[in-house]
């Protein structure tokens, strides 16, 4: 858990410090990609708590999810159908699921110690 917070803080710090910007037109893709990454990250956290963490699955999932979500958003933009809703829906519900499981693991740990 602590690694997660450390990583998050480091990332935010980097984002604040580095003068990186992108065109406003990309905000939609980035936001969907963020959601996908969040899902992967929570999934990874859950797997590591369950001691089932697999590096290959984690890394490939992290990038392919993000890319697929951004791609869906792009296709939807072209077709005039907000396809990225699918990504938001899937990742959003998985996010809550993973979070619930993580919560249970943490509470269990607290009780056993």
């Amino acid at each position: 858990m602590i690694y997660a917070f450390v990583g998050l803080l480091l990332g935010i710090l980097l984002g604040v410090i580095l003068p990186v910007t992108y065109p406003a037109a990309f905000t939609l893709y980035i936001s969907v990609a963020i959601l996908a990454s969040l899902d992967s990250v929570f999934g990874g956290l859950r797997a590591s708590l369950e001691n089932k963490f697999n590096t290959e699955i984690f890394v490939t999932g992290f990038f392919s999810n993000a890319i697929l979500a951004a791609f869906l958003a792009y296709i939807g933009d072209r077709l005039g159908v907000p396809l990225y809703y699918a990504a938001i829906f899937a990742f959003g519900s998985r996010l809550f699921q993973n979070f619930a499981i993580i919560r249970r693991h943490l509470i269990n740990r607290l009780h056993t110690h």
Binding site: Y3, G11, I12, Y22, A25, T27, I30, I34, S37, S48
Partner: protein, 240 residues
């Protein structure tokens, strides 16, 4: 070893997420918004209109400054601006019908049609109406007429053109047809306002068969205004 790698991957992934989130915050927080090409062109047009207006105002200012320079030059040479003021008053008097005027322009003759009516046709179709005269007067004004008269009555800003049966009342004098409208101005333009295809006068002539004639003249004479000049209700607003 395995556990260690796991740790680093998680940290890296969280770092990336944090980084992306901050980026997104920075981008969305600033003044970016989606706009369509239409909005862009609309805005560009609006900007252009405003610029045109500004340019117009600037030219207005220049005109006023020119006037001011004239006054100053008059003061410098004669010590008084009386001459220019007198000139101004003369201009005003010409505008408001104090003088008999003369200049190049057109003479328009307007009278009822002498053709036979069709079976069941409305006789109003072949009669000159007050509205016809009014529209022709307006067309002449658009063409830059500086002074106008109808049957010898100077047309001022307060002149009425009223239907009075088969006759028309102008400046409280009543006239029967034919109506003679005189206008001083650029005679080519004025003539075109009557004769050019699809003008109102052309339509009267070609469609309804009224008699509409337009004669260009180098010396159109327009008499002064003979009516009442007393003002009963208006007063000058001070302090403007």
């Amino acid at each position: 070893m395995k556990k260690n790698a796991q740790k680093w991957f998680l940290i890296a992934a969280f770092m990336l997420v944090g980084f992306l989130i901050t980026l997104q915050f920075k981008s969305v927080g600033s003044d970016y918004s989606f706009i369509t090409i239409k909005t862009m062109s609309d805005l560009q047009n609006a900007v252009k209109r405003e610029q045109d207006e500004i340019n117009q105002m600037i030219s207005l200012i220049e005109a006023q400054e020119e006037k001011l320079r004239n006054y100053e030059a008059a003061i410098a040479s004669d010590g008084s601006i009386q001459e220019i003021l007198v000139q101004d008053i003369e201009n005003m008097k010409i505008h408001s019908g104090f003088y008999d005027l003369e200049g190049p322009g057109v003479m328009v003759l307007l009278s009822d049609s002498d053709r036979d009516l069709y079976e069941g046709e409305d006789p109003n179709n072949v009669i000159v109406h007050d509205a016809d005269v009014l529209r022709i007067i307006n067309d002449l004004k658009i063409a830059g007429a500086e002074a106008l008269s109808i049957n010898g009555q100077r047309v001022l800003s307060t002149s009425e053109i009223q239907c009075a049966g088969a006759t028309i009342t102008i400046n409280q004098f009543t006239y029967a047809q034919p109506f003679v409208i005189k206008a001083i101005g650029n005679s080519d333009l004025l003539n075109a306002a009557i004769k050019a295809p699809n003008t109102y006068a052309w339509e009267l002539k070609e469609v309804f068969g009224l008699r509409v004639e337009s004669h260009v003249s180098e010396r159109v004479r327009i008499p002064r205004y003979h009516g009442q000049r007393q003002l009963q209700y208006v007063s000058v607003k001070e302090g403007e």
